[in-house]
């Protein structure tokens, strides 16, 4: 009998960066692993707690209120080296909105104040006066598209698209460094900055984006891609057992319709 696999997840600042329903991503990873007999160890790390140097397969970092983001930003400085090293080693990260911004080089507020980030992504964010609030739909970058297609399987549904859909709510405009790959190209919505049609950032297996909704429940192909990448670190290439994702794709498609309105 095959050995039971275990996925070690670290949820960064779940008590403070928890404002926009991003918790659904953790629930989704947990359930999709559980349905396949994969064990989950979930560790919550917040302010003042030390971050173990290694051992996590996947880090999750959600969005929070501005004030919380400032408090978290200070504490994150102490954890920055560990997190960057993990990303360099190919550990999976999913960061959203405020979490995504804190993993960049810096955030320049409207008043010109610079809040330092840890620079895991070569990108920066500038505060703006207009909030980008709407459904957001992106075409995932071609390299990832191929990988997702090779990983994702479902029992009863042909993979119709590798697009991602969610809801964005941010006023910071993110600009990517010259060599930084975006997560995808905006089809509907604003994305990183509402100007260059990019959305999100990719560094090795670390991903940042502005997609709430929650993102993973109705983008099961991306959820499974993250799970398989996270398992790969310790178990090599893993073939995930296909699940019945009919409902997931119905939700995905209805959100797509909304985005197109």
């Amino acid at each position: 009998m095959a050995k039971t696999m275990t996925l070690n997840i670290c949820h960064l600042y779940p008590d403070l960066m928890d404002t926009y329903g991003d918790k659904g991503n953790i629930i989704t990873i947990q359930k999709r692993c559980k349905w396949r007999g994969i064990d989950i160890n979930l560790t919550n790390i917040t302010i003042g707690q030390s971050l173990p140097a290694s051992g996590f397969d996947l880090y999750f970092f959600g969005g929070g209120q501005d004030k919380a983001q400032t408090i978290v930003g200070k504490d994150l400085m102490k954890k920055g080296q560990t997190l960057k090293k993990a990303a360099d080693n190919g550990t999976v990260f999913l960061s959203i909105c405020g979490g995504y911004q804190l993993l960049q080089k810096y955030f320049k507020t409207k008043t010109g104040e610079i809040i330092k980030g840890i620079g895991l992504f070569d990108a920066y964010t500038v505060g703006s006066d207009n909030r980008m609030i709407q459904n957001l739909m992106i075409k995932i970058n071609p390299e990832l598209e191929q990988e997702i297609k090779s990983v994702y399987q479902t029992t009863n549904y042909q993979l119709p698209t590798t697009n991602l859909v969610g809801f964005e709510n941010h006023s910071g405009k993110t600009y990517l460094g010259k060599n930084t790959k975006s997560l995808g190209k905006v089809i509907k919505g604003a994305g990183n900055n509402g100007e260059d049609k990019t959305e999100g950032a990719v560094y090795k297996n670390a991903f940042g984006c502005y997609l709430h909704g929650s993102l993973l429940p109705k983008n099961p192909h991306f959820a499974d891609y993250l799970i398989s990448k996270a398992l790969e670190r310790r178990y090599g290439k893993v073939k995930l057992k296909p699940l019945d994702d009919t409902l997931e794709w119905q939700a995905h498609n209805s959100a797509m319709e909304k985005a197109k309105e």
């Binding site: 659904g24 709510n169 209805s254």
Partner: protein, 446 residues
């Protein structure tokens, strides 16, 4: 001018007010100045409609009160109500006004109505795409409250640190209300907490009692900020299976037991806010008790309907804190038939992420037949799936009206159906229920 607009205005809630404000932008200000006993403003994320109605019932025993009852709580709604209650030539037919006001428009409303009293219930994350963050709403409130004259009274929830802190922005008197019990006899819920840090110094808040979300007994781990002792309080909260509640109410040194037909902890706070307001306006406690005990709840907040021998209970849900309290309340029942209707229109919030901040998991073993509907029915169905709540694919409906009719057909006769709609879905539910109700009456008459 007022009566002219009333003449042309017709029945719509906000339309006459909108026209009036176009003709005279200072109309609300002018008319409010003439109200003999002034205005009471009620705001907060959850409970303002119910509280406004409770306060209306209680204060009506002594005053001639008007209230923007139709729920149009923007400035034009206030203008409409004022116009409809003025006579030719612009004389007021009332001596006290109650204004239920949206969190986002509170500053604007305060500037226009010169409130004598402001009742602030709570602040939770709510439709972030419309209102923005809790912190930023509070800062806007603070900037407005600081401009108030000394003779305005604030009535504040002592148990919400994000509300009790507002005392410090006010020069005049503050009355606090809060719950005395350290535990509530309702199932535990993994709740969203929007205030975790001291709003003065930023250090951690320590909760010795946490009743719901960030409501409870708290103190700062660093400075001397802590929950103020409430002037009006409730203890011995008892939530009964028939969704009625009993509490011991303490106000002005008197204690009274009150039994009333509203469910949940959230309504205890609405009743406390009402009692605190009543004490300020010197309404005798037995009168308050009587009005609370005979109160029937506001539109869709907790509504019992009988349709074709089946009982329907409707609870409006609109944000994680409110929805969690409703879920907690109904989880006292073991075999819930549930119809959850999730819409994403502007009044509901276009972002449906909040359903993932809501603890549906506690209903896992407490449901029988589950149905979902609405413009985002598949998102809701997915939430149910990931909460481990069984849902047949045949029980997912886009259309609200059809979902109710079909759900009623699929249920066996004696069961109660619990309907949890978002705001615009609630309007559809009401339409359907009115229509079926009429059909039933017609059929019975034949």
């Amino acid at each position: 001018m007022a009566f002219v607009i009333r003449f042309f205005g017709g029945g719509a809630t906000a339309a006459p007010g909108l026209i009036a404000l176009k003709i005279d932008p200072n109309l609300v200000r002018k008319l409010n100045k003439e109200i003999t006993f002034g205005s009471v403003i009620i705001s907060g994320t959850n409970g303002k409609t119910t509280t406004a109605r409770l306060i209306y019932d209680v204060l009506s025993t002594k005053y001639k009160v008007i209230h923007n009852r139709q729920g149009s709580n923007l400035l034009r709604g206030i203008a409409s109500t004022l116009i409809s209650q003025s006579t030719i030539p612009g004389k007021l037919k009332f001596d006290l006004a109650i204004w239920e006001v949206d969190e986002a428009t509170l500053p604007e409303s305060i500037k226009n109505v010169y409130p004598k009293t402001i009742v602030l219930l709570n602040l939770f994350r709510d439709q972030l795409d419309r209102y923005g963050e809790v912190d930023s709403i509070r800062v806007k409130w603070q900037k407005t409250l600081i401009t108030l004259p000394k003779d305005t009274t604030l009535i504040l929830n002592s148990d919400d640190p994000g509300i009790s802190i507002l005392e410090k922005s006010h020069k005049g008197k503050t009355i606090f209300f809060g719950v005395g019990d350290n535990h509530v006899r309702l199932p535990e819920v993994t709740s969203v907490v929007d205030v975790k840090h001291c709003l003065i110094c930023g250090a951690n808040l320590i909760f010795s009692a946490q009743l719901s979300s960030h409501l409870g007994k708290y103190r700062c781990s660093n400075c001397d900020f802590k929950r103020p002792t409430p002037n009006v309080s409730a203890v011995n909260l008892n939530f009964k299976p028939d969704f009625s509640t009993s509490i011991s109410l303490n106000a002005n040194g008197q204690t009274l037991n009150i039994n009333y037909s509203l469910p949940g902890l959230y309504n205890v706070y609405n009743i406390l806010a009402t009692s605190a307001t009543a004490s300020l306006y010197k309404i005798a406690l037995p009168t308050v008790k009587n009005k609370i005990e005979t109160f029937s709840s506001a539109f869709g907040r907790f509504q019992r309907t009988k349709i074709q021998n089946r009982e329907l209970l409707t609870f409006l849900i609109k944000n994680p804190a409110g929805a969690n309290e409703v879920i907690r309340t109904i989880s006292k029942l073991s075999k819930n038939n549930l119809l959850v209707i999730l819409n994403d229109k502007i009044a509901d919030g276009r972002d449906v992420s909040w359903i993932w901040d809501t603890d549906w998991e506690i209903l896992k073993d407490k449901t029988r037949d589950v149905f979902v509907a609405g413009t985002r029915c598949f998102d809701m169905a997915l939430r149910m799936k990931y909460a481990g709540i069984g849902l047949s694919k045949n029980n997912i409906y886009k259309e609200v009206n059809y979902s109710i009719l079909s759900t009623l057909k699929k249920m066996s006769n004696k069961n109660t159906l619990i309907v949890l709609p978002t705001y615009t879905a609630l309007l559809d539910v009401q339409k359907t229920l009115n229509r079926i109700g009429e059909d039933v009456t017609k059929w019975q008459k034949q």
